[in-house]
C-alpha cells in the first residue's frame, strides 16, 4: 500500500500502462515538458521520451483525430483534454468518428482511445473550467464513459480504460486531485471497470453519485446517520455501460433514491437513472427518485459556485423529502 493523491494515482496508473505496453502513447497540450496543467503526466516524457508522450499544438480536434488514426493502426493513445470545457472542439471527432469506427469497420478495428477529461467545479474557476459534460458522451452509442472518485479507483480505472478495446471517455474529478488515500499498486485484482460500488452501506435510502460528488454524498450520509437515517451511497463509477443491477438491488431494499451530480439536473444523467429505477423498482418505491444537481445556467463565476454545486444541505434536504411522500 502506498498513500497517493488522486492525481498521483493517475500518474502512476499511466506509468504502469506505458511500462506494460509499448503501444500506449500520451498526447495533449503541455503534457510533456510541463507534465500537464494538473501535473497528471508529470515526469512521463522524461522517462518515456517525446515520441510516447507527445506535446501537441493547441488543436483538440486535431489531437483526438490523430489519436483515432493511431488507434486504427494499433496504438493505444491516451489524450489529455486540459479542462472539461475544452473538449468541445474535439466533440466532432469523438462523436462522428471515434464512437462509430467499430460499426463502420464491422468490428474489424478496435478503437482503444482514452480521452481524459478533468471535470467539475469547486476549484474557484469559471465556465469552461468547471463543467460536467458527461451526458453528451453517455448519449453517444459506441463510447464507454467512466468517472473515478478516489485515488484507488483512479489508479485501476485508468489502466482498465487503456486496456479497453473500445474508446473510453475518462472523467477525473479535478477538485479531488489532491485527495489522498491508500492505493495498492501491487495487485491487479480490481473491481471490473463497469461495475458500480456500494461505498457506504445503509438501509433507509440509496444515494447514487459519481465523480467529484461522491465524497459530498459520503459526508451527507455521515450527517444523516447522526440524525438517525441510514444512507447507502453507491459510486456508479461507470456511466455507460451502467451497472443497473447494483443500483436496483439497493433501491429494492431501501425503497428510496436520490441521485446527485454536479451537471445540470435537466436532461442530466439522473434522468436516465430515475427512469430505469422507476421501470425496475416501481412497486418498491416509497417516493419518486429525486435529483440534486446543477442548475440550467452556464457555470457561474467562483463567487456563486457554492450555491450552484450540490452540497450537504441540498443532499440532506432531498433525502428528507423522500421520507415525506
Amino acid at each position: 500500500m502506498t498513500t497517493l493523491t488522486l492525481g498521483k494515482a493517475l500518474n502512476e496508473g499511466l506509468r504502469k500502462a506505458m511500462d506494460d505496453d509499448p503501444k500506449v502513447l500520451i498526447m495533449g497540450e503541455d503534457v510533456g515538458k510541463l507534465g500537464g496543467v494538473f501535473r497528471i503526466t508529470d515526469g512521463l516524457q522524461k522517462d518515456f521520451g517525446e515520441e510516447r508522450v507527445i506535446d501537441t499544438p493547441l488543436a483538440e480536434s486535431g489531437i483526438v483525430g490523430t489519436a483515432i488514426g493511431l488507434a486504427l493502426r494499433g496504438y493505444r493513445p491516451v489524450v489529455e483534454i486540459q479542462f472539461d470545457g475544452f473538449v468541445f472542439p474535439a466533440v466532432d471527432q469523438i462523436i462522428t468518428q471515434l464512437a462509430k469506427m467499430r460499426m463502420r469497420s464491422l468490428g474489424k478495428v478496435e478503437l482503444p482511445v482514452v480521452v481524459r477529461i478533468p471535470c467539475g467545479g469547486g476549484i474557484g474557476a469559471v465556465e469552461h473550467h468547471s463543467e460536467s459534460p458527461e451526458v453528451y458522451f453517455t448519449h453517444t452509442a459506441g463510447l464507454r464513459v467512466v468517472a473515478c472518485s478516489n485515488p484507488a479507483d483512479a489508479y485501476s480505472m485508468i489502466q482498465q480504460s487503456i486496456a479497453s478495446p473500445d474508446p473510453v471517455v475518462f472523467f477525473e474529478p479535478k477538485r479531488r486531485y489532491w485527495d489522498k488515500a491508500d492505493v495498492d499498486t501491487e495487485t491487479a485484482d480490481w473491481t471490473p471497470l463497469h461495475a458500480a460500488r456500494v461505498v457506504r452501506p445503509g438501509d433507509d435510502v440509496t444515494v447514487l453519485s459519481y465523480g467529484p460528488a461522491v465524497k459530498t454524498c459520503l459526508e451527507a450520509a455521515v450527517a444523516a446517520g447522526e440524525e438517525g437515517r441510514s444512507v447507502e451511497v453507491i459510486d456508479l463509477r461507470s456511466l455507460n455501460p451502467l451497472d443497473i443491477e447494483t443500483v436496483t438491488a439497493s433501491v429494492h431494499r431501501t425503497g428510496r433514491c436520490v441521485v446527485v451530480h454536479e451537471a445540470a439536473v435537466f436532461s442530466g444523467y439522473g434522468a436516465e437513472l430515475a427512469a430505469r429505477i422507476t421501470e425496475r423498482c416501481f412497486y418498491r418505491l416509497e417516493a419518486p427518485v429525486l435529483r440534486v444537481g446543477g442548475f440550467s445556467t452556464p457555470y457561474p463565476p467562483s463567487r456563486i459556485e457554492d450555491h450552484y454545486l450540490p452540497d450537504l444541505d441540498r443532499i440532506l434536504d432531498a433525502v428528507d423529502r423522500t421520507f415525506g411522500w
Partner: protein, 391 residues
C-alpha cells in the same frame, strides 16, 4: 429541383443588401512595395498598398501612449496582487509585456469599431475606453463590474464600448469576429471588426475556417495575432509548422504583416493600415505583433519551463521601459513627467481596486436572469431541494 437556400439568396432575402461596395471576386494581384517596420529578426511582410497617413505624432500623443501603457502595466500588477490576496477568483491572465501592442492596436480603432479578444484582455478593455474601476470590479467578480461580476477576468463584455467579449476558449472568438464583420458588411457603414488572439490560437481549426471565410467574403475584419512566443508552456516553434505566423495569411490570399509589438507607434501604424484597408476596401488583414509575455501564462503559473537566460532576456524586451527610454531620448518625457504619470496611473489603479473591493457581490438570486430572454417551459430554475432559493 428544390432551391437550396444559399448565402446569396439569404442575402437578397435579408433586411438589407450589403451597402458596402464589394470587391469583385477573383485572383488578387500581389502587391509589391516596401515592408512595414520590422523587428530585426523578422522576415518581410506583404507590402502595404496604401501609404500610412504620415502626420507626425505630437509629443502629447506619444506621452499619451506611454501613459496608457503604464496604466495597463500598473493595472495588471495590481490585479496580480489582488489575485494572490484571493480577491480575484478564477484564472487571471495578464497583458504584462504586451502593453505596446495593446495600446498601439486600440489607437488604430475608432470608438465605434468592434473588438473581440481572447481571455488576456484587461488592457484592451482599458484602452478601448472602459474605466479601470469597472474592469477591476469585474475581475473581483462584483456587481459593479462591466459584466456585473458574471464574466470575470476572462469574459469581459461591454456592448456599449463595442467590446464583444473576451473569450476563454482558445480560438472561440475568431469565427464570431468574421460574423460580426459580415454583419457590418450587410448593414452598411464603415465599422471595422478587430479580432485579437494569441500565437497558439493559429493552430486551432476555427482560426483557419474564419480566415478563409473572411477572405472569401471580403469582410472588414482585422485579425491580430499577438505572438508572445508561447501558448502556455509551448513555444511557437513547437506548435506552428510555419512559425512566422503572419505568413498564414497567404493561404487565404489575405494581406498580412508582422510588426514589432514592443514599439507602440509601429503597432499603431501597422494596425492603422490594416484597419483602414478593412474600412475603405472591405478586405480582411492578418497582423502579427511580436511581443513578449513577461510573466507566466496566468498569475498562478511560475513559468518554470523558461530558462534563466530566457527570463533575463525579457527584461530588455520590456516595452514600457523601452518606450520611456525612447521618449526620454527624444526629450519629451522628463524624469519628473515620468514620476508624475506613474503616480497618476497608480492612483487610478488603487482607486479602482478600492472601488472593486467596496462593491457588492452579485446576488445569487440573479443566477437565472441571463440564461434565456424569456422564461423557458421546463427550465430548471428552482429545485424544491434548494434552501438557498426557498425564501
Amino acid at each position: 429541383m428544390a432551391e437550396t437556400p444559399t448565402r446569396s439568396a439569404a442575402r437578397s432575402a435579408g433586411e438589407a443588401a450589403p451597402a458596402r461596395a464589394r470587391r469583385s471576386r477573383g485572383p488578387r494581384t500581389p502587391r509589391p512595395g516596401p515592408g512595414l517596420p520590422q523587428p530585426p529578426d523578422t522576415a518581410g511582410a506583404e507590402a502595404p498598398d496604401t501609404a500610412v497617413p504620415a502626420a507626425p505624432d505630437t509629443a502629447g500623443t506619444l506621452v499619451g501612449f506611454y501613459r496608457q501603457m503604464l496604466l495597463v502595466r500598473r493595472f495588471e500588477e495590481r490585479a496580480a496582487r489582488a489575485y494572490t490576496e484571493a480577491k480575484i477568483g478564477g484564472y487571471c491572465h495578464l497583458n504584462l509585456g504586451e502593453e505596446a501592442t495593446v495600446v498601439g492596436l486600440m489607437a488604430a480603432l475608432r470608438p465605434t469599431d468592434y473588438l473581440f479578444t481572447n481571455y488576456r484582455e484587461h488592457g484592451y478593455a482599458l484602452a478601448k475606453g472602459i474605466g479601470a474601476d469597472r474592469v477591476m470590479a469585474e475581475l473581483y467578480g462584483r456587481s459593479t463590474g462591466v459584466s456585473k461580476g458574471w464574466g470575470g477576468s476572462m469574459h469581459l463584455f461591454d456592448a456599449e464600448a463595442r467590446l464583444l467579449g473576451g473569450y476563454g476558449i482558445v480560438g472561440g472568438q475568431v469565427p464570431l469576429a468574421a460574423g460580426a464583420a459580415l454583419a457590418v458588411s450587410y448593414k452598411g457603414g464603415d465599422d471595422v471588426v478587430m479580432c485579437q488572439m494569441g500565437d497558439g490560437t493559429t493552430a486551432i481549426g476555427g482560426f483557419h475556417e474564419a480566415l478563409n471565410i473572411a477572405a472569401l467574403w471580403d469582410l472588414p475584419a482585422v485579425f491580430v495575432v499577438v505572438n508572445n512566443g508561447l501558448g502556455m508552456g509551448t513555444a511557437v516553434e513547437r506548435s506552428a509548422a510555419e512559425p512566422e505566423l503572419w505568413k498564414r495569411g497567404a493561404a487565404y490570399r489575405m494581406a498580412s504583416a508582422r510588426v514589432d509589438g514592443t514599439d507602440v507607434v509601429a503597432v499603431r501604424d501597422a494596425a492603422r493600415l490594416a484597419v483602414e484597408r478593412a474600412r475603405s476596401e472591405s478586405r480582411p488583414y492578418l497582423l502579427e505583433a511580436v511581443s513578449p509575455r513577461l510573466k507566466g501564462h496566468s498569475v498562478v503559473d511560475p513559468a518554470r519551463y523558461r530558462s534563466k537566460e530566457e527570463k533575463d532576456a525579457l527584461k530588455d524586451a520590456d516595452p514600457v521601459a523601452r518606450t520611456a527610454r525612447r521618449l526620454a531620448d527624444a526629450g519629451i518625457l522628463s524624469p519628473e513627467d515620468r514620476d508624475r504619470i506613474d503616480a497618476e496611473v497608480t492612483a487610478e489603479v488603487e482607486a479602482a481596486a478600492a472601488f472593486a473591493d467596496a462593491s457588492p457581490q452579485p446576488d445569487v438570486s440573479t443566477l437565472f436572469d441571463y440564461t434565456y430572454a424569456t422564461p423557458v417551459a421546463g427550465e430548471q430554475r428552482r429545485l424544491p431541494a434548494d434552501p438557498v432559493f426557498r425564501s
